[in-house]
Symmetry: D2
């Protein structure tokens, strides 16, 4: 099974006066990629919210910066499932620089909590969701 | 009567790879300044939303860029009332570079619409609000 | 000749607590679209900077908000050339909501200045650039 | 010795459609606070870059989300030094919600690398900098 992968371009809005991508922007790319990974499994964030009153929020996140991305470069985000237990989902995301031979740029480990949105209370990830999430490549 | 004025610092998050403040960030500084101007008049955006179900959204905006701001510089936003008619509020905001003798950086003309938030319908600016808004210096 | 068109998705990073896309984010979408329009003509922003020491900065911009975009919606930015004279380039960009029958969301009129990047001095748009820019649909 | 502390307000630009501060924005608040902490010690980021060709970049960062911040709330960032060894600086930053009895919102552990900016090569933190940095409260 392949990891979910999607690509984004670096624009001026992503860079800072150091001439490289601003460190917090990688979290934005990763969030876009999680949304696309979920959408590809039939779990679009807008529909989850509207139909099921369910959302995923970030509980914990760590990011290691290996090499910076620069203006105009093309990047790929690979999203892997690490585990799904109770109300928690752990993912690993790797961002690579496709304009530089796929060099690894950052590694992100993120733990999400499944929430009932109206009252922001943690919720066991529904079985139907788990089934769909099993479509993500699992690494450990 | 003095215009409402507040100050912000330029951080890396505000800059881009051109070494200057990213052009869309000035709209963020202006929004912060509008929130502070309203708060100083007793109209905090959070309270307006929670207590009165009222918010102001941007309908139209134009911005002229006179000279760029850079990392670490201190800026001042002056907010003036141009007019308040029906559901519309027109403001002019000038951003100056306090790290560079107060040189004018951008001029923003913005037209806001007053909305009932639950159904996003335009709403005549309430009289009690107009009275408070009269505390802003008027230019024309 | 068709206008240059490209599509982007709305993610959480683009929205605000009003439940809609934050008003300054439309300028980010428009900047991405200008970069893609230029790239499609052989004028990638990174190469222009590195090879020719040339960049385009925003001098003036006005934006009208017709209807808000929301989380997860797909948008299209159409970029038209209005005129290219001396060091100035005028573009009009229209953002439409493809998740809502192509409804017009915002209209942006933007004036760019061509600059020599090392000293930030205005520069007449080079003839080779003008030739490439003629590939953009012209409206007036 | 007291930790360095500074305060910021939450504006619309910081929030997302979930009604809370967007998860990556906390990194922006933390970066602002590091810049202010360094400035208070006589190490303004702009001057370090211009005079000493020195900058600090983020090598690694982890963030735990305890409770969300919302529109209009006032937050405090406390910045502590954990250790400074060779080219590395470790800081811990805690963000508290002053609009909610100082409730802890996030904890950030960040490792910075000192770089010579022209060639982006790691550089042992200069002795004069270490002396100034000793003005930050140390926790372990």
């Amino acid at each position: 099974m392949a990891a979910h992968s999607c690509q984004f371009r670096v624009y001026y809005e992503d860079t800072d006066a150091g001439g490289i991508v601003y460190h917090a922007r990688y979290l934005g790319f990763a969030e876009r990629a999680r949304a696309e990974a979920l959408r590809s499994l039939g779990l679009a964030v807008g529909e989850m919210a509207a139909q099921d009153d369910i959302g995923f929020v970030v509980r914990q996140l760590s990011i290691r910066y290996h090499s910076p991305l620069r203006l105009d470069e093309l990047l790929e985000v690979q999203t892997h499932l690490v585990e799904a237990v109770g109300a928690r989902l752990k993912l690993q995301q790797v961002i690579r620089n496709l304009s530089c031979e796929g060099r690894k740029s950052v590694t992100i480990d993120v733990e999400l909590a499944c929430l009932k949105l109206t009252d922001m209370v943690p919720l066991r990830v529904p079985g139907a969701y788990l089934e769909k999430l099993s479509g993500l490549e699992i690494i450990s």
